[in-house]
Symmetry: C2
Subunit: 399 residues, 2 copies
């Protein structure tokens, strides 16, 4: 049973700008209050005073593994199976390059059309480099299970669809992949910190994720990678960087992979970003993931019900019976302009081409009052068609 | 002729801890005073207040190219030919993967034993992934020129040797590589911000570098990559990340490389680190590279002459006639303990296995008085053998 959480207390641990209702933590989480001071300390007291000695004295060198363990606790990964670094794209590449070598006789990377594009792009890039006739097979999300066959080397999926919020059944698909002899790579971009994940329990082989969304570690915060403990010693790191070497400071001329998950490190870790990540993870120390998930569904269902009743023009992106992550998405042909008008009115959600309005609900800093206020403003904009103005229709690059 | 520089003024732009003489800016540069405020602004005013809107409103999305151009000015690269991101290891991989594809009929990657290990490791890792019989041929630094033959696909060198400081003749080796039909990759880790570099002038094909050394952008600051302008459109990015896509926010299912250098971007850029980099680069706006180089030689030769006269037990790592970068290195069998004792006495240099003491001299914040004080302390430690204590001999992981 889920523990009782004091969500008003977690909300106080974030800086939220006045007048803003932030429903886009699934793009970039807000600033944890302690992160500002934590980054200041690393800049001024550590870099400024310790200089190069910070690598040992402040422990910078150990942060990727130490913070990896703290993330591991939130995604069902044992200590020593997660390490932080690089970007999610790089971590996808790393996992995929290693995974393909574990199945040298197979040629298919199976993914779905709900995967985030960069995962598919990195696969394309790797396939072209290898030049061995691998195929990236992309099917509809609902067709994944039946597409897992004996040709599949790797099943690479993002658990929660960045547009619709549709959530895959990690346990069932991991089991199907295992039965077919395929290696699994789960991208947890919209899962880590959003809902319960049990990597060890489902027997995932690899997982990757980012920390700037639900973990609130700031813009450009580093990614993480998980490798199943009993696979770690057989994984060859394609990105054989010096900090993944068994003895980085021996400066050996030849690469020898480091022990366990350490071999998935590559280059010098981004210390300022890691400082922010550390403070961001402090917020999670007392969070019960089951309680978080229950509360996230409560808030998002309240929003979805409100939209259905008050803005029926917005069509749910998913049928109600389909499991979803911590977001609710709707389709509308004027989705872009509606979202711009909503943002101008202080409710920040997200638009994803071609027609998706996306709203993220994280219990850490959102309440029923926020949901209700967001609904009021959305209804006013949709029913009043106040989005139909040139300033809301003019498209610019959006993230 | 070199412009006259006010080095006392540049020194005031850095925070230097009391009592420390910092001769290790070639590992990690000190904190530029303005960087602390710049990072605070990005954390609190941008991330904190703008949230996701920071990507457009604060311009985060454009920083990798904009800061790349600012770096380009300091290494002889035209606007639009440098972009910032990832780590140096990743950028080496990116350059090498692209370069090998430009010479599909050749199998040799030529490098030297003075290259930083991660460059060699990344090459090893890529070769193993490709499985097409490429060979990493590592020769002594002095043998590189004659080793360039028609089998060489790529000449991959670090301009300045991280241990000895030995500097390659970029113009001559680039020309020799071009004559032999080989692609060049220059690693500028110990060159960018250390001495004059003219990438366009020497006709380099690719270059990579880091920003946490001479550019003083902080621990884990991102790397950069240069691609010769007329090659950019034919370069296939092996690391095909979404931010290198022609239209990242169209979320196309298939990768199309972005225009020019933009295609060498991969994932989400590390915004907090980029903020520090921006402030760090401000210091360079008024720096004349020829004047910097002249001053660097002046300071380092003063130090080398002092060591020769006062600590002859320290053997110069290079003969005097060999060109070197912005560092001076010496060999001593007890180099580790000597460096530990020196650091304990407030003079921070660096030790590199097996026996190298390394001292970096950057004019931005060092003066003759620093050189002389460092010599006094070094002499006391070496001649008094005060390094011969357990606390200085006990080895730990060092960077």
């Amino acid at each position: 049973m889920a523990a009782t959480m004091d969500w008003a207390a977690t909300r106080r641990r974030f800086h939220l700008p006045d007048g803003v209702i932030y429903l886009d933590g699934n793009s970039l989480g807000p600033l944890p209050v302690a992160a500002a001071e934590r980054v200041r300390r690393t800049v001024q007291d550590e870099w400024g005073e310790m200089l190069i000695r910070g690598w040992n004295e402040a422990g910078w060198m150990d942060w990727p593994a130490r913070l990896g363990d703290r993330i591991g606790r939130l995604i069902g990964a044992a200590p020593g199976s997660v390490v932080v670094g690089d970007t999610l794209s790089i971590k996808v590449y790393q996992a995929l390059a290693s995974a393909l070598e574990m199945r040298p006789d197979r040629r298919v990377i199976l993914s779905d059309s709900g995967n985030f594009p960069t995962d598919l792009y990195m696969a394309e890039g790797l396939i072209a480099s290898l030049g061995r006739g691998h195929e990236l097979r992309v099917v509809a999300p609902g067709d994944v299970a039946e597409a897992i066959d004996a040709d599949v080397a790797v099943l690479m999926l993002t658990t929660v669809d960045y547009r619709t919020g549709r959530m895959h059944d990690m346990a069932a698909l991991s089991e199907a992949a295992r039965a077919a002899g395929a290696v699994t790579i789960w991208d947890l971009a919209h899962s880590a910190g959003a809902h319960e994940v049990d990597l060890a329990g489902v027997g995932a082989d690899f997982a990757v994720g980012c920390t700037y969304k639900y973990f609130n570690a700031g813009p450009g915060a580093p990614a993480f990678i998980y490798v199943r403990p009993d696979l770690q010693e057989e994984v060859r790191p394609a990105l054989a960087g010096w900090l993944g070497h068994e003895a980085p400071f021996a400066f050996d001329p030849s690469y020898r992979p480091g022990r366990g998950i350490e071999r998935m490190r590559v280059g010098t870790p981004p210390v300022l970003q890691l400082a922010a990540l550390e403070a961001a993870l402090d917020v999670w120390d007392d969070v019960d993931m089951a309680a978080l998930r229950a509360r996230s569904l409560e808030l998002s269902e309240r929003f979805a019900a409100g939209v259905a009743a008050r803005c029926p023009e917005l069509v749910p992106a998913l049928p109600p019976e389909v499991a979803r992550g911590s977001q609710v998405s709707f389709r509308h042909p004027e989705g872009y302009a509606i979202m711009q008008a909503l943002i101008a009115d202080g409710v920040i959600g997200d638009f994803r081409a071609p027609d998706i309005l996306r709203f993220g609900f994280t219990p850490l800093y959102l309440s029923e009052a926020d949901v209700d206020a967001a609904l009021d403003r959305l209804e006013r904009i949709v029913t009043g068609a106040t989005w139909d103005r040139p300033e809301f229709r003019a498209r610019k690059a959006v993230t």
